[in-house]
């Protein structure tokens, strides 16, 4: 089982096969058949990934670096970029997370989408997404990674706009794709800079050559451009605007793509290119600051939202900020650790929210929820676990990963630590606000929701349980205060070096302990505040909102970022496009095409004048031809030139004749 060929290609290949089968015979499989096909493919992919990782783990630590080439794609002179897959500890973590969480979400979807008529299309897109994402994380060169990158962007568009008949969904899909594209622009330019400077895009060669071949300016430029791509994909400032709108898609989509996997692609990119980023301290600084500011920014907005999925969306943006903060201060391993734990509890949060929405017959506004704890016991229990995890309460998973990030930030630059800490407080507050509004307090349900309230089916509850378990125990692979680094860090050490990356100033164990206590206290304070405002004295929230009406308005309108972008970018471009259509396309292009027809018409109208119908004119032309032929026998071709001139005169004479006859 663990011997034999690695067969990494199975991991992205199985979902791709499912896509093809679905395309071919999907309509004949029925709803359940399609579900089995999709889940089966991802499940098998997870098993294949597990096997591959076990094979990898069997090797000594320094040797955990396996490349498998599936297909020779590009080979031009000195440049090669193949469809090759790289398995090292980092990609091992990624594939396990992607396939594992992906499988759970696929199972959940069979329950959630059971009544949707378009189930087949849904699973088609979902499997396609899995294929693209796995290609992205397994790629061994930037070019193949970019293929996966674009693929997930496409699937994101397709899945956000899944219910395309709804205008808001279609708009959201478009917005996601366009904003992503801006980031992709940066990615492409970054790739070009790297290729121009070093001649290769393959990770192994590029990272080995980098210190010798790339100048400081070059690598700074390249990494900043790559980070622009990461910003777009991972919804950081300033390209974050698409993620909240992406909640138009079905909830499993939000869970898989916009919580656990696709948005983490940016973090993966930065982590994978850590060699380059470490050569460009300026870029690392940018990454850290963007991450920290985004974390805080998104958290503040999350305070004022009423749609349960929007709160989770802003929470995702915020947590991604933490991951980038980790990379920016040098603790890449901590960033990946948080990526993993976040995948668990964020997916759980989204799936749980989906369960609530499903139970309340598609109600998403938290102001019309409340008191659901006794009535949706399983959903409530798992959601509580997830909320505790995200708030950073020990011993849940989120505590360990977030704390490691904050420790690293403190070691690098205390200001960043402070920002992160405030963000953590706000996170605890608004997440428990969500919990209290949804599950506790007085019920505020609508009539319709009351009548149809029901707990979700087992297909939806089971994945929630699995994720809840993971949210509890997931942090135990990374406990603090372990000599030589905890297991997770040691696992990632071959990739990031040392203790999975080290911050500029490693804080002393005692300092770290103090930081941990501080963050727990802060989180507890946040929870207490939420309890006060949303459970004990619900009117207090209203009074506070009135007192801080201006602040609340800013937060509720998301700092008006969308409106700003609309004014400075979207509307001008739209106007230019409109002008291009009205002027260039309608007048010039159509005009040219129609103009050709008009010219032909005019020319034929002119030539028509030769056909006067009078035999005499024809005889004249004949005689002219005879004269020309005789001439040409002696003068050669010039005779015809002369004759052409004479014929022109003749034509004019014929026209003259015609008009004079008309007059006469």
């Amino acid at each position: 089982m663990l011997t034999g060929a690695l067969r990494l290609w199975l991991i992205p290949g199985l979902p791709l096969a499912a896509v093809l089968v679905n395309l071919a015979v999907g309509h004949r499989l029925g709803r359940r058949g399609v579900g089995w096909l999709a889940c089966g493919a991802v499940g098998l992919s997870f098993l294949a990934a597990l096997r591959a990782v076990l094979i990898l783990a069997a090797r000594p630590a320094a040797d955990r670096f396996l490349v498998e080439t599936a297909y020779t794609w590009i080979r031009v002179g000195d440049f090669t970029a193949n469809v090759s897959f790289l398995l090292d500890p980092l990609s091992a973590v990624m594939i396990l997370v992607v396939t594992g969480v992906g499988f759970l979400i696929h199972v959940y979807s069979t329950g959630y989408m059971a009544h949707d008529p378009d189930v087949r299309r849904f699973f088609l897109y979902l499997n396609l997404f899995m294929f693209a994402m796995l290609t992205l994380v397994l790629a061994d060169n930037f070019l193949l990674m970019f293929v996966g990158w674009e693929g997930v962007g496409l699937c994101s568009y397709l899945l956000i706009g899944f219910w395309y008949a709804r205008p808001s969904a279609a708009e959201a899909g478009k917005k996601a794709f366009v904003v992503n594209r801006i980031g992709d622009f940066g990615f492409i330019l970054g790739m070009l800079v790297l290729f121009t400077a070093s001649g290769t895009l393959q990770f192994g060669r590029l990272f080995a050559d980098a210190p010798h071949v790339l100048t400081g300016a070059t690598v700074t430029a390249a990494t900043l451009l790559l980070f622009l791509g990461a910003t777009g994909k991972s919804a950081q400032l300033p390209l974050h605007t698409w993620l909240p709108d992406a909640m138009e898609g079905p909830t499993p989509v939000s869970a898989l793509i916009h919580a656990a996997t696709m948005v983490t692609a940016g973090v993966y990119l930065v982590a994978r290119s850590h060699v380059l980023f470490q050569l460009a301290p300026v870029s690392l600084g940018v990454v850290a600051w963007v991450g920290a500011l985004t974390a805080l920014f998104a958290a503040t907005i999350g305070l004022a939202q009423n749609d349960i999925k929007r709160v989770l969306a802003y929470s995702t943006i915020s947590q991604l900020g933490y991951m980038f903060l980790a990379c920016g201060v040098g603790v890449f391993g901590a960033g990946i650790f948080h990526l993993m734990t976040h995948a668990f509890f964020k997916a759980l949060l989204f799936l749980g929210a989906g369960s609530v929405i499903h139970a309340l017959s598609d109600e998403q506004d938290m102001r019309r929820m409340g008191g659901l704890a006794p009535r949706l016991p399983w959903t409530h229990f798992t959601m509580l676990v997830a909320t505790l995890a995200i708030a950073g309460i020990p011993p849940f998973a989120g505590f360990f990963s977030k704390d490691e990030i904050l420790a690293g930030a403190f070691g690098a630059r205390p200001v960043l630590w402070a920002l992160g800490l405030v963000g953590a407080a706000l996170t605890a507050f608004y997440m428990f606000r969500l919990y209290f509004l949804t599950f506790r307090g007085r019920p505020r349900l609508t009539e319709h929701a009351e009548q149809h309230l029901h707990e979700s089916p087992p297909s939806m509850i089971a994945p929630l349980f699995v994720l809840a378990v993971l949210s509890v125990i997931g942090g135990f692979v990374g406990p603090p205060f372990v000599k030589g680094g905890h297991p997770f860090a040691r696992w990632l050490a071959p990739v990031f070096g040392g203790e999975a990356g080290a911050p500029a100033r490693e804080p002393a164990p005692s300092a770290e302990a103090i930081l941990m206590i501080v963050s727990v206290l802060v989180a507890a304070a946040g929870i207490l505040a939420a309890w006060h405002f949303y459970l004990r004295d619900t009117a207090a929230a209203g009074r506070l909102r009135e007192r801080l009406a201006g602040v609340h308005r800013v937060l509720f309108h998301k700092y008006w970022v969308d409106e700003l972008y609309d004014a400075i970018a979207v509307t001008p471009i739209y106007r230019v496009a409109l002008w291009c259509w009205r002027f260039w396309d309608t007048r010039i292009v159509d005009g040219a095409v129609n103009g050709i027809a008009v010219v032909v018409e005019l020319a034929s109208g002119a030539l028509r004048l030769f056909q006067t119908g009078f035999v005499g004119n024809y005889a004249l032309a004949l005689a002219l031809g005879v004269a020309a032929v005789i001439l040409s026998a002696f003068f050669g071709v010039q005779a015809f030139v002369i004759v052409a001139g004479v014929m022109l005169l003749l034509a004019l004479a014929a026209v003259l004749l015609h008009f004079l006859r008309a007059l006469a």
């Binding site: 030769f610 056909q611 006067t612 119908g613 009078f614 035999v615 005499g616 004249l620 005689a623």
Partner: protein, 100 residues
Amino acid sequence: MIPLAWLLTLSGLVFAIGVVGVLVRRNALVIFMSIELMLNAANLAFVAFARELHSLDGQVFVFFVMTVAAAEVAVGLAIIVNLFRLRETVFVDEINLLKG
């Protein structure tokens, strides 16, 4: 004897007169007569060369030309008569049924 050049000059002149007649006149019958002039000019050239080359083939050809000319005149006149019946005119510039 008569020099060849004189004969050919005469033939060319008569031919040119025939061409001018075709182009200048309006009356279909006169145009037809001009065509006959052209044919005869050609016949003259044939006979002249027959004498020059001491060969009777030229004269035989003239014989055939005359025969064909006769047939052609018959048919052409029939057409002109028919056209006159249709249009009440023999003037070619009043007949433009072929106008494009």
